[in-house]
């Protein structure tokens, strides 16, 4: 435990140092920050949006926002929490703005629970979990069930169960109370249980 805390504090110190360097116009510092967090941000975008290209575009948009707003960073919270907050909000905006397009191209967002079983037939060809992962049928079903959750619950599940964020971090990232986060997560899991009944 202490090791983890030490590691995170070291990482935080490193982040703060890079940010300070960036603020004195050291562009290499920003490049290092991007390199350090791009995979995490990209992964988060991919799981929320469910499309590789959209995730790529959204991740770039997130780092452009970071570039433009890093001078507003107050060094009071950790950089990853701040970054994830921007990422989640950008993904949410992207989901709303692309709502019609998503419906047209049948991306795997907002698919009703009833259509979970026929999910594979209407997936966007840019991402096919079975082809990409080839892990197990069970995992595939879990993934589909997560994607069929409402947007606010899906983000919580992704942050908690896939990204492994703590409740406190999720509360900071999503801007909701700790209790709300916990109760929503319970609700999300209950819905997942209903969706996966007989499958898992």
């Amino acid at each position: 435990m202490s090791k983890g805390k030490t590691g995170s504090s070291e990482s935080q110190r490193e982040d703060f140092g890079l940010i300070r360097n960036f603020l004195i116009h050291d562009m290499r510092a920003f490049d290092q920050l991007v390199t350090k967090y791009r995979d995490k941000v990209f992964n988060l975008c991919f799981h929320i949006l469910g499309d590789f290209d959209e995730a790529d575009d959204c991740a770039q948009e997130i780092f452009i926002k970071v570039y433009n707003n890093l001078k507003k960073f107050r060094f009071k919270s950790s950089f990853p929490t701040w970054l994830y907050r921007i990422a989640v909000n950008t993904c949410r905006n992207r989901i709303f703005s692309l709502h019609s397009r998503i419906n047209r191209t049948a991306l795997r967002i907002g698919i009703s629970p009833d259509s979970v079983t026929d999910h594979t037939d209407i997936l966007d060809s840019s991402y096919e979990p079975g082809a990409l992962l080839e892990k197990s049928e069970q995992m595939n079903n879990v993934y589909k069930a997560i994607e069929s959750l409402p947007e606010n619950l899906r983000i919580l599940v992704i942050l908690r169960d896939i990204e492994g964020k703590s409740y406190e971090d999720i509360s900071s990232i999503t801007g909701t109370n700790l209790g709300t986060v916990k109760s929503r997560l319970v609700r999300a899991r209950h819905q997942l249980r209903e969706k996966l009944r007989g499958v898992v």
């Binding site: 490049d31 991007v34 390199t35 791009r38 995979d39 941000v41 990209f42 992964n43 991919f46 799981h47 590789f52 995730a55 790529d56 991740a59 770039q60 780092f63 452009i64 570039y67 990409l132 992962l133 892990k135 197990s136 069970q138 995992m139 079903n141 879990v142 993934y143 908690r160 169960d161 896939i162 916990k182 109760s183 997560l185 319970v186 899991r189 209950h190 997942l192 249980r193 996966l196 898992v200």
Partner: protein, 350 residues
């Protein structure tokens, strides 16, 4: 502990985030409660499935493309900054520049300029144009019931345009009075509106020439009067009101007039109209001279012939009769445009 409380702890139990006491509570409860046991089993499988989720990495050229996008946006931003920032300085300068440019354009082209001269003078050329237009109008609108009466003080009557033009020219050189009357009826049709539009074009033509004598009474069509309804110079109402306003205007300018401020021509026309059971409906005054330029009279249609006859006693009259005469029992509106000189007593009819 209730099942709902236990279920909130199940995920933390699987993540090893519970204290020893809580862990034993959860384990004991799940061993006894079948539903909570199933829930725990499901969560175990779920978290195991989640653990196999792939971690998708960003493309290799992510940073390169990111920097390209940042630089592209910077260029766009710098252009906007160059145009508008700092706002406090550049916006007022740009607004002032735009205003100056607008003023310059206004001065050079003056799109709002319009010719305000009154048709006090009308010459031969313009009158010919007018006659041609009327002929064209008669061809185009066969049901037109407008009538045009041309009167001159020599007592001659002309029905055709060119002849009238000659007479007009002669009248101009001799200083005779020419009176042109356009007559219409209250029940107007769509063709009458077209006629009125055509007539307004005639008025424009009449302004152009400068040969004109000052001797002119021109009577406009009712449609023209309707178009001029919103003209501030139009005095609506009965004779008393009209006379008072006329008096005020004439007094201001020191013109010769009767006690009520009316000119001799006005008095004569008003007497004639009243004697025939009609009334003066409207008067229009020239903004510059403050003299009456237009009179709208309304007379019974049965008295129309008498009215014309009386006019012929003082002036020569040319009449363009309507093809469809007015129905009996209706009243006729006659609109007169009067040249400024005829109002003066010295220029009255011989």
């Amino acid at each position: 502990m209730k099942c709902t409380q236990i279920r909130t702890l199940l995920a933390d139990y699987l993540n090893n985030e519970l204290s020893e006491g809580d862990r034993s509570l959860v384990e004991n409860h799940c061993a006894q409660c079948e539903r909570c046991g199933e829930e725990l089993e499901f969560l175990t499988k779920y978290i195991t499935g989640i653990a196999f989720f792939m971690h998708v990495n960003a493309p290799a050229d992510f940073n390169t493309r990111l920097w390209q996008r940042i630089k592209k946006r910077k260029r766009k931003k710098s252009l906007i900054a160059a145009l508008f920032y700092p706002l406090k300085i550049k916006i007022p300068i740009e607004v002032a520049g735009a205003c100056a440019l607008g003023l310059l354009v206004l001065l050079l082209f003056n799109p709002f300029r319009h010719d305000t001269s009154m048709p006090q003078s009308m010459g031969l050329t313009s009158y010919t144009s007018h006659t041609k237009n009327n002929e064209a109008l008669n061809k185009q609108v066969p049901d037109d019931r407008l009538s045009s009466i041309e009167i001159n003080r020599a007592g001659k009557m002309r029905k055709d345009g060119p002849a009238l033009s000659q007479d007009f020219q002669a009248g101009a050189s001799e200083g005779r009075t020419i009176l042109r009357v356009s007559k219409g009826y209250p029940d107007e049709s769509a063709s009458r509106k077209k006629a009125a539009m055509a007539r307004s074009e005639d008025m424009d033509l009449s302004i152009e020439d400068t040969v004109a004598p000052k001797s002119e009474i021109r009577i406009l069509s009712p449609n023209e009067i309707q178009k001029l309804k919103h003209d501030k110079r139009i005095v609506l109402g009965g004779q008393n009101n009209t006379s008072q306003q006329t008096h005020a205007r004439m007094s201001e300018k020191g013109k010769k007039s009767d006690r009520q401020g009316r000119s001799e021509a006005e008095v004569n026309l008003e007497h004639l109209v009243v004697s025939l059971g009609g009334k003066v409906a409207r008067k229009i005054y020239n903004a510059k001279t403050k003299q009456c330029t237009d009179i709208v009279v309304e007379i019974p249609s049965k008295e129309y012939a008498t009215f014309i006859e009386n006019l012929r006693k003082a002036w020569s009259v040319q009449i363009r009769e309507p093809k469809n005469p007015p129905p009996k029992g209706t009243r006729v509106k006659v609109l007169l445009h009067i040249g400024s000189w005829i109002i003066a007593p010295s220029a009255g009819p011989k």
